[in-house]
Structure formats: C-alpha cells, structure tokens
Subunit: 306 residues, 2 copies
Amino acid sequence: MIPHLHRARLAGVVAIAAALACSNASGAPAKPVTPASVLAAAPDADWRTLDPHDLLVIDLAGGGRVVIELADAFAPLHLRNIRALAAARWFDGLAVERVQDDYVVQWGDPDGKKPLPESIEKAPPPEYDRAAAALPFTPLPYPDPYATRVGFSGGFPVAEAAGRAWPIHCYGMVGIGRDLNPNTGSGAELYAVIGTPPRALDRNLAMAGRVVRGMELLAALPRGTAELGFYADPKERLPIVRARLGDDMPAAERPRIQMLRETSPTFAAWVRAKAHREDSFFVRPANALDVCNAMPPIRGAGRVGM
Amino acid sequence: MIPHLHRARLAGVVAIAAALACSNASGAPAKPVTPASVLAAAPDADWRTLDPHDLLVIDLAGGGRVVIELADAFAPLHLRNIRALAAARWFDGLAVERVQDDYVVQWGDPDGKKPLPESIEKAPPPEYDRAAAALPFTPLPYPDPYATRVGFSGGFPVAEAAGRAWPIHCYGMVGIGRDLNPNTGSGAELYAVIGTPPRALDRNLAMAGRVVRGMELLAALPRGTAELGFYADPKERLPIVRARLGDDMPAAERPRIQMLRETSPTFAAWVRAKAHREDSFFVRPANALDVCNAMPPIRGAGRVGM
C-alpha cells in the first residue's frame, strides 16, 4: 500500500473534509457545502470575541492552561461566588482531584481545609433553571429526548420546557459541585464533562460555563482509581498553579478566543451543513443534529471546531 | 470544614448514591429505588457472560489491556475480516496512532506498510445498516433526534427507521475506519468513540463492537497534535503488543466479563430508575433517558456501570 493511498484512507476515517473555500460568483462547479466550508466563508462579524471579564483562566502544574467562559445568566449568585473566589485567588494551590471516565473531571479543595473568603455565600439557593422568557434563545430545529426544545443562549446549550430554561451538560460544560443538600454548592468545587453528556444532571446542579480552551488537557488526565474516580493517592492530583479572571491578567497576556454567534446566518448554515453532510465521505446524512453536536465553534484556540 | 462533611459534599457531587439493598417483603420503610439498588438486586440470570469467542483482547505497551465485544450481526463481512486479522495476529506490533479530543481514538497500521493476510477481503461492501426485522430489538421508551426509535440488540445500541436498523456511535463503541470510498474499510483500522456520541457517523461506517474493559485507558491517552489528532511524532504512538480473540487465550487467562441482558426485567427497571432518579441527590428527575446513557451495565470489569 503506497503512502499516498494510506494517507487518503486515514484522512477519510475522520469524516471531516479539509476546509474548502466556498465557490462564489465565479462559474466554477458548485463544491459541496461542508461545516468547514461554511466556517471558512464566515464574515468576521459572525464571530464574537470572548470578553476577558468572562474568562476564568486556570494554569495547571506542568504548563497547561484551561480557559472557561463563565455563564452568568443561568446561576448569577453562584457566578458571583466564582468571580469572588477567582478575584481572591482562592483556587491557587488547590488541585484537580477526581477524573471519572465517561463522566467528569473535578477540581477544588481536595482536603476541604481551605477557608472560603468572607464574601462568599456558602450555600446559595438552587439556581438550576430560570424563566425561559428572560433569556435570548436560538432554537435548534431538531427534537431532544429531554425537553420541549433545545438550542443556544449566549453561546451556551440550553433546554426549555414549560416556560423554564436551563443549561445542558454537554461535553466541556462546567458545573458546580454540591452536597446532597441543593443549597450547598458554593462554587469552590467545579467539574467539567468529559464523556457522554450526563443529561440526568441537567437542572440538578448549577452550571458555571464552558471550557473554551484546554479541554483536551482535562479529558486526557489519568482516571482516578478510588471510588467515583477520586485519585487514591494525593500525589496523583494535578495542582492548580493559579486561576484568575481574564481581566486580572496583563492585557497582552489575555486569551484571544472567538466563538461563532449562534444568532448569525453562518451558525444556521453550519448547523444545516452538519445535519445534511455533503462532504464526500458521507454516504447517508443524518438529517438531524443533537444539541451537544451543535456547540458553537471556537477559533483562536488552536483549531476551528468541527 | 470537617473531613466528614467534606467527604459527604464530594460524594454528593457525583450523583451516584451508594448501592442500597432493595427492601423486600419486610416491613421496613421503602428505600429509594436507584440504578445501583436495581443492579445490586439483579438475579445472576439477568447477567450474560461474554463469550471468549466474541472478545478481542488488545494488550498495549505499558501493560494496559482493552477488551472489545465483537458485534457480528451488523457487519458480518467486516467482522469476518477482523476475526481473521486477530487470528493471524496481524495487529501485533502495530499502534494507536491517533487521539482526537471529543471524537475518537484510532489504531492500526500507522505507516500503511504491513501487508494484509491473503484471506482478508480488502474492500468489503458497505454494511452500515440492515433489515430491522432480522434483528432482535429491545426499544427504549424515549425519543431520539435521529431515528424512529432506539434501543438495544445483543447488548449493542441500535437505531431503527423505515425498516432498517444500525448500531449507534455511543461512547466506547468501536467502528471500522475507511477511505472516502465506502468499500475500503477492511477492518485493519479501528476506532473507539471517546466523547460526545458522533451520531453523524451512524450509518456511514461499519461498526465492530463495544469496548467492555479498558476504555479509561484509551480515553486518557494524550491527544495528538497533528491534523485530525494523529500523533505528530511516531514516538508518541502507543504500541499494540498483541491482539487476539479470547478463545485463542489459555482458558485461565480469558477475561471474565458480564453484561446485563437488555431483555431482562432488571434492565427495564434500571432504565426506569435512571430516567426517574429517586436518589436523594436528585431534586428533579429528567423523566427521560437517551440511548447512550442507557448502555447495558458491565460487571467484572473493575466496577459496575453507573
């Protein structure tokens, strides 16, 4: 088998064609519209630059950096806590303590010994859903097993039913750990989804945002072998060097990340292209798309999303 | 914060209560029915012991072992190839060559240099779906965005529409890589899903089975930095020491793994308990369950599934 053929074979496996420039007013034969071609043709106005004030930038031991876009709209009291914890540099020196396969990575204060700052509300009320009417909402035109409709609000995946709206536990979404008592999630323990979207958790925990850079670092951590994926030996924990808000960083160092606006024509075209794949690899398009496969693409983060 | 409370807090995060014995005919107050309590009460007859003939056992460099249950019913010609490759020990000495975050881990012949055995059909015809009537099927009572109904057949997740049935790309499912030409997936390149179920791939590739042990090893591999998640440096590849069928192993060494029968009363009760969570952690059950969150639990593999 010659390398060229083999390279083509491998490339074909991935179901992502290389980005193709869209044909425009030229007379060239129409090329297939693919998710990549739609993104390549997007005007800059369809991309939103993430506000440094909304970014939680976590530097991990070993040099890795994880950036979370905070979602204030869904759980404002919890988010006030997280912002206060970051401002106080409370997470600095704590650790990633738990990695459970096909579920979550969790970080915070593994030994539960670090006092929370005075300004923190230690047991904010449950903020698991809110009035749907108060949120902008761009629906997906496809059904969902769990809700009347699903879509996006402010870049985040959202479900709606009976006048209420709530964020969805898609891959990369960040939630706020709590005790059995719903009023115990201070924001001091956070987790990110690293597997099948655990939709049973929707509406049962407050959510903090979405990992917009460095998800591949969290998801590739060794799984913990103690119950629930906690690391059995404290030496296995991955220390957090520092966690701060983007606007607490020197301007030149702030992450520059863009997300496709879900309200843009490009996003609608991208969803259509993902649902009705025309890429030459696909023999039978799904003609549908679930919400967690429609997370708004990110750029400036190493690569443009699928 | 005292350790006991902290331990409770951490445990609460996980949304999995400890296994509770079901109350039976005694007069004790009813305990909540949880997924764990249902499994703990399952009779042995509801568990199926996986046949060594159906197991592909892959030993990785470093001592890790991955076990795949082969799914012959969906793509019999492709599976005949995979069985022949394993019998010929063709995978021995090859490698995991690609890890793309939130997508797939892929292994095979990274340099495309190893000749296939004579007995291999190099380009079996597409076997991406088949007549639904020919497959046993246990439906889930919840809708799916992509199909008329979804459920399980022989332990594997399956979708149905218009008289056709096909396996679903849930987390841990194993597919057969191919070139752009649908007739080019010999079985020599395999991949496992490590993120959001990539449902757009359903019905576009033949599927080989499900990882039933060692998924946490594949999913935690470092992501590749070359295009599509291929490892940029061949030194990053993880060698495959050997891959063989379970019945080619000495009897005492064969993996002993059980899966809950999807046709059993226990499975139906477990699905209900997952959809309608009564665990004390949950304040609002989802009252639904998607197919990839309903993958039949496995035991004898380190821990019972969630």
